[in-house]
Amino acid sequence: MKGLLDHRLLVVTGKGGVGKTTVAAAIGLAASRRGRRTMVAEVARRTDVAGVLDAAHAGGGAAEREIAPGLFHLSVDPERAMAEYLRDQLPPAAAGVLNRSRVFGLLAAATPGLRELLTVGKLWELAQLDRRTPGADPYDLVIVDAPATGHGVAVLNAPQAFAGAAHSGPVARQARIIQATLSDPDVTAIVAVARAEQLAVTETLALQDALRESLGAELDAIVVNALEPDRFTPAEARRLATHDPHPAIERALAAHARARRQRAQLARLTRGTGHRPLRLHAHALATPDLHALADELAPQLP
């Protein structure tokens, strides 16, 4: 089977609040350590990846920038992607006319789904060996920090929806090419990030169904983030439960109960997907150190 980092495009998605951005950045760090020239791209006006890695780099992000050796970052901006697309498709003077045209700007803003298509189009461009951006070097791997689950599927779906709506013409053709890239399992892999909680697991299973239904795609890997330490054996837990009341023991028993619930949800996720999830513990404690997460993740990457 093809290794996860051997794809060209890695789409990382998951329910809000599960640490998707951190995990995307940690995968990127692990890939760049292996010598892959790696891009971590964020969408929807986010610039969090840079901030997770280095607070000094937070904000900005509209241009491709190296934030660690071999690790690059970009926050995809649809307006900028539009300008680039026009420059690529039209003679310079004509592109200028459109970029300055108010009517065109209004029409572009009002066309449903166009922003999403342009966003995905830019991601596709980043993943090309022969890039359209003049003078731009290719990446070995492009990791997408996609929007939260429901919306993530919508973004992935945008090219297909647009190709359907536009029927024919250059945009429809372009959308179909992008669509083919996204649905080629040799090129694109989809990673779901979850926590071992009931709701997050339920959403991951729903994401799996939605991907199959709308894109015919499968999840390639699942990362379970923020697992708590499972310290106590059942016998130890029983011993604690029969001990005289003590606040520290209550805390230990509460932690044990949480760890048990997490293990049960992990088992449910494994059953429901047939995947053995990658496990991350470092995030459970306070502010995550990205290097520690990458250390934990690297040996588990399929």
């Binding site: 609040g17 951005t21 929807a44 006006r45 986010r46 901030g51 039209l90 006319v97 459109l98 009517v103 065109f104 209004l106 029409l107 803003a109 009002a110 066309t111 449903p112 789904g113 922003r115 999403e116 929007p147 939260a148 429901g150 919508a154 945008a158 929806a161 647009f162 359907g164 709506a165 536009a166 029927h167 024919s168 013409g169 250059p170 945009v171 429809a172 909680e197 009931q198 709701l199 997050a200 339920t202 959403e203 330490p229 310290r231 106590f232 130890e236 604690l240 001990h243 003590h246 606040p247 520290a248 023991i249 805390r251 230990a252 932690a255 109960a257 459970a284 404690l285 306070a286 502010t287």
Partner: protein
Amino acid sequence: MNLEGKRVIVVAGSGGVGKTTTSAALALGLAARGRRVAVVTIDPARRLATALGLEELGNEPRRVQGADVAGELYAMQLDAKRTFDELIERLAPDERAAEDVLGNRIYRELSGAMTGSQEFTAVAKLYELHRDERFDVLVLDTPPSRNALDFLEAPDRLTGFLDGRALSALLAPTGLAARIVGRGTGVAFSLLGRITGIDLLDDLSVFFRSLSGLIDGFRRRAAGVKALLGDRATTFVLVTSPEREPVEEAIFFHGRLRDAGMPFGGLVVNRVHAPPEAEPDGIRAELAPSLGERLAGKVAETTADVAVLARRDAEAIERLRRELGVERPVVVPLLDEDVCDLEGLALLRRHLMGAGA
């Protein structure tokens, strides 16, 4: 948190911080005080429906039975697509104009894919419910959009492009556009045709033309929604957990509220760890005689973990206090169980609004 006299409570925050359950608990608390409350949620997992003892939540508020309250509690789950369709039906001057939009291929295929459509429909629904005399208070659980801008800009988003002069250019048949609105637009249109293909351009033109009858209605509705969001009887409650990303998001959103002149009604910090009362070393020494060194050591490790998290949480709350200028945020401790029924909501409500609520 002072919610007295508020008619609309918008609950905002990033995904995964307990926004939906907080909204439901607030609604339950207000209903307990004798108000007639409707909570509008966008909870896709239907967890709220289960917690409220409802089979399913519809796109219209449904009375929650079994909540032992002096007032009345209603709940609904927003269906963005349906709300959008209904809005078009309501704003269209006649049935035919509505059908033109609803049957349009661009509308059908792409309206769901549009960023911000959920936000727009949420505020549109809010506007409608606020005129409904069955309810004293509305609690809106906002969509889990990362970007607060999407929500605050929702009223402008759909009407921005309906700017009169530009739209008339779009509505004119393509060939005439150049002569009617000048050469620049004509060139833009023909270039656009080269980029998009003529089919798409024609379809878009039909789409915008079919929308044209609804423009005034849309504009009036957007103005009404905007006024409602800025009204004195409206307030925004921010919800966060003590983790880094949601905290930054809450600070960012608060800044946006201030800039937009929107009313800020309070801050809720969920899942806060209480600091342990003793040091891990002391606990180990104290428990070793009865538990043995090994097990006492493990118990002490658990306390050490909690101490780390409690420190992080205290720092996060301090930062929020400073940045938001909130003297006393509502701090909800990490609960042992997920909130999954009315009893759980009642417990959360007591944390949010005090025992007497």
